[in-house]
Amino acid sequence: MKVVVHYFASLRDRAGCSSEDVEMADGASLSALYAQCSTRHGFDFPQARLRVALDDAFVSWDHGLHEGAQVVFLPPVSGG
């Protein structure tokens, strides 16, 4: 299945793009997706420091993935 991963802030700078398509095996987990992206781009953040959003809603890391999913790995926020 194909999913789209979006990046913000330092993750965007490190990835060098604001989003990318990623091909994953059916049934792959969000953790596996982050592990793959993190290895490829050399992200500094362990998964435990990130929140994850699926289709514009926060989800837990054990939430399932689906074809066409829009995924965002959120580093710690600093608004205000």
Partner: protein, 137 residues
């Protein structure tokens, strides 16, 4: 009506305040976050804010509604600026109206704390030494 907004252009606190006036309210508290010229001892020249807009609007709206449920207030509104900001610019505004000041202060403080903790907005500081850095506290 509680409301949370994201703004690419300067925030006008006078206009926001005026829209919240109501004769049933005895108290109004506003918080403003300004771009400060220093951070942890480093001289700051400017800021960028980046936003994950769809989720920020949803999460911001949830915070405003939770505030109305938690505190005895009449109205609560907030606006967060994004994009490039200069020193002294208004980065975030939170206004709360209530019958009495206790609830207005508590709710206003709670809202800005929740915004900073939960809303997907990120700040990049540009320092006088030429370095710039995303803050991920």
């Amino acid at each position: 009506m509680p409301d949370f907004a994201i703004s690419e252009s300067p925030i006008d606190p006078a206009l926001l305040r005026q829209a919240m006036q109501s004769p049933q309210c005895g108290a109004f508290v506003a918080f403003e976050g300004w771009v400060r010229d220093n951070h942890l001892g480093k001289s700051v020249l400017a800021l960028d804010y980046q936003v994950y807009r769809e989720l920020a609007l949803g999460e911001g709206e949830r915070i405003m509604h939770e505030a109305c449920a938690r505190f005895t207030i009449v109205d609560a509104r907030a606006v967060h600026r994004v994009g490039s900001l200069a020193l002294g610019d208004l980065a975030v505004w939170v206004g709360v109206s209530a019958g009495h000041r206790d609830a207005a202060f508590s709710a206003c403080r709670w809202i800005i704390d929740e915004i900073k903790a939960r809303v997907p907005i990120w700040k990049r500081e540009h320092y006088a030494d030429g370095v710039s850095e995303w803050l991920h506290p």
